[in-house]
């Protein structure tokens, strides 16, 4: 009993964090779903959703209800177990990285020493889910989507890690809080502009978004890995995609944009979350913006770009960083 009382605060903390994580994941999906459609609309000279609620703000709620009401179709020759399991596998791990993100000085689930590793390790599970889902669908287009997703994600994880590693060398810590603290005079985007650029390109590929949305390239592979998914199992993939966008943008904010630092507001230990969210959503706006602006690259060009340009540049950048850190 005594042990129970001693771990009770931790348990409560975990529960609160989990609830907050769920709120963020679903809230983010609602906001981004609406924002993406509205932005896409305005970029395309049309108003976007307008019917449900003022300026269509309830559209996503209605869509959510619709998706929940839809039948989950499992194709006849698919592997039913894996087919149902894949969306869950895509969706479940996105909560954990939220626990270690420092939204402000005081708002953080757990400040782990290996915070970055937790995020990157769990972010990779999404790929496994795509692999399982596409494979289990027993559809050639899905299979193609999976081929592309796996090779693309594996390739782009390397420059992403290398660019983050440059910052880690400078701060000597995987803890996200320490990284934010290290940026008190200048943000790392000023010191490490190349790393930021490489990271930015990599996250577009990591989150499978246009112009690097080859795993779901609509005009080539109909819908890629989620061709066979319907209803809620489809929307779990979409939820996971938005949550992943949120996570990678948060990591960029923490590592390059100074986390929650900004012009001080009252109760800054808490209100720093405003700056944090502002930065995260600016990055996500950027992701949406380029999605609706550029055509899709070809697969071999995408891979060449990674192996021939991003990785060498990231390595050189890392090397220079290490040398500089050693010298200074």
């Amino acid at each position: 009993m005594e042990t129970f009382y001693s771990i009770l605060p931790e348990l409560i903390r975990i529960v609160i964090c989990a609830v907050c994580g769920a709120v963020i994941v679903f809230g983010n999906a609602l906001v981004m779903g609406y924002a993406e459609r509205k932005l896409a609309g305005h970029i395309m000279l049309r108003p976007g959703p307008m019917e449900v609620g003022p300026h269509g703000i309830y559209q996503l709620v209605i869509d959510g209800l619709k998706l929940m009401g839809k039948q989950l179709v499992v194709p006849a020759k698919a592997d039913p177990l894996l087919f149902r399991f894949a969306p869950l596998l895509a969706f479940a791990p996105v909560f954990v990285p939220l626990l270690v993100l420092p939204f402000s000085e005081k708002i953080q689930g757990f400040d782990l020493d290996i915070g970055l590793l937790v995020i990157l390790a769990l972010a990779s599970i999404n790929l496994l889910a795509i692999l399982i889902g596409g494979w289990a669908s027993n559809n050639k287009y899905s299979l193609f989507g999976v081929f592309r997703a796996v090779s693309q994600n594996v390739a782009y994880e390397i420059p992403m890690l290398l660019s983050l590693l440059a910052v880690v060398f400078m701060t000597n810590s995987f803890s996200l809080k320490a990284v934010v603290a290290a940026q008190s005079p200048v943000w790392f985007i000023v010191i490490q502009p190349l790393a930021f650029l490489i990271y930015l390109v990599s996250i577009v590929a990591e989150t499978n978004r246009a112009p690097f949305d080859l795993p779901e390239a609509e005009s080539e592979l109909t819908a890629g890995f989620h061709t066979e998914y319907s209803g809620m199992s489809f929307s779990l993939f979409v939820l996971a995609e938005y949550a992943n966008m949120f996570i990678v943008s948060s990591v960029a904010t923490v590592f390059f944009l100074g986390g929650s630092s900004g012009i001080p507001l009252p109760y800054f230990e808490y209100s720093g979350i405003i700056w944090f969210m502002l930065k995260v959503y600016s990055l996500m706006f950027f992701l949406v913006w380029i999605r609706w602006t550029y055509p899709r690259t070809r697969f071999d060009q995408l891979m060449n770009f990674c192996w021939k340009y991003l990785i060498p540049f990231a390595l050189v950048n890392l090397l220079i960083t290490v040398v500089m850190v050693k010298l200074l």
Binding site: A40, M44, K140, Y141, A217, S219, E220, T222, Y294, P295
Partner: protein, 375 residues
């Protein structure tokens, strides 16, 4: 030797067949292509046609030639007026009907507007194939103006049946002329935007340059015409090569490319819109007054025995009607040579060994309208 065959057979085990279409986002309708793939490389392609076959040639043999006019619009739903034009011209040629000058001007203006709207739709749809979602909305925005203008005079927005044997069904009015002039101004002001936002994009250029190269000789072997042929550097346009209607009166250029790849035909189509605008402008300036119907068009149009051909430049290439008449008012045989049919037939040779994404680029560059192929 036997080892080689064995190796080849083993090789083929790596391949598998992907069925693209008839319901696929980038086959533009009901085209089906069987792709034999090795990894993502298409080693063999087999287009399967006929899903939209509506027996137009058979129908033509059963009713008076005059009443076949609406059918022509249903073949190529994007170039309906140009198909009208070719057919009206065929019957006029066969029956020896003189067409008033005003009619020719109206036909040229509306046909060219039709050509621009076809190219605008292609522009958006092609970029959609390449994964750029936005340009189609811009080009549809422009296209909408043409549809509005044409709707006023023709009464329909897509499958026009506006031309009659010996004339047109309705005269154009002041509103049409001012509307068209305003449209010309508008579209001209939009071209720089298209050039800046789309044509110069590095991703687009990487996707199109050196993809699906054609040579003039390949075009001759397959009978490829239209922008694809002009992309290879051959300035062959029916409006110039066999000037029909009053096209010889107008001053316009035939845009050509050099390499014959997808980028070349892309730019050819893009510049053709400007040339069409020039033709319309000149035609509007020179628009004469007069009747919109030939003086005496017999109700029952008897076509003297013999065979007749009428070729026009459709948005996708050369369109030929070949009519065999036995002297009655019903055609004995009508063959429609549609440009996409010949253009598509090059696909197996053009796309061999290409990446799947490039197959999509190449097919988009053909600017396919499937009902025109299936007829």
């Amino acid at each position: 030797m036997s080892m080689d065959v064995k190796a080849l057979e083993d090789d083929r085990h790596h391949r598998y067949v992907l069925n693209m279409g008839p319901q696929h986002p980038s086959t533009h309708g009901v085209l089906r292509v069987l792709l034999e793939l090795e990894g993502e490389y298409a080693m063999n392609l087999l287009p399967v046609l006929g899903y939209g076959h509506r027996c137009h040639e058979k129908i033509a043999e059963f009713k008076p030639a005059k009443s076949f006019m609406p059918n022509t619009a249903r073949m190529d739903y994007l170039g309906a007026l140009i198909y009208n034009h070719g057919f009206a011209q065929l019957l006029e040629k066969a029956a020896g009907i003189e067409v008033p000058e005003r009619v020719e001007y109206i036909r040229v203006i509306t046909s060219e507007l039709n050509r621009i709207q076809s190219h605008l739709l292609w522009y958006g749809a092609y970029l959609l194939d390449l994964g750029a979602f936005t340009p189609i909305m811009y080009s549809f925005d422009d296209r909408e103006h043409i549809l509005d203008i044409l709707e006023d005079v023709t009464g329909s927005r897509l499958t026009y049946c506006y031309f009659r044997v010996g004339g047109v069904s309705k005269d154009i009015d002041e509103k049409f002329v001012t509307g068209t002039r305003a449209f010309i101004k508008r579209l001209r002001s939009r071209f720089p935007m298209y050039e800046d936002l789309v044509n110069g994009n590095i991703i687009l250029q990487k996707r199109l340059i050196d993809v699906g190269e054609l040579t003039p000789h390949t075009c001759a072997r397959y009978g490829i015409t239209g922008p694809l042929l002009r992309g290879t550097g051959v300035a062959y346009d029916m409006r110039r090569a066999e000037p029909y209607s009053i096209y010889s009166k107008f001053d316009f250029e035939i845009p050509t490319g050099t390499k014959g790849d997808c980028m070349a035909s892309f730019m050819v189509r893009f510049h053709e819109m400007e040339q069409s605008l020039r033709i319309i402008e000149q035609a509007l300036d020179g628009l004469p007054e007069g009747s919109i119907m030939a003086a005496k068009v017999p109700k029952k149009l008897k076509i003297p025995a013999g065979d007749y051909n009428s070729s026009v430049e459709a948005p996708r290439g050369e369109l030929s009607y070949y009519l065999v008449s036995d002297g009655s008012d019903v055609p004995y045989r009508l063959k429609v040579r549609t440009p996409s049919y010949s253009n598509l037939s090059v696909i197996p040779e053009m796309c061999q060994g290409m990446l799947l994404s490039d197959v999509v680029s190449a097919m988009g560059a053909l600017d396919l309208v499937i009902p025109e192929i299936d007829r």
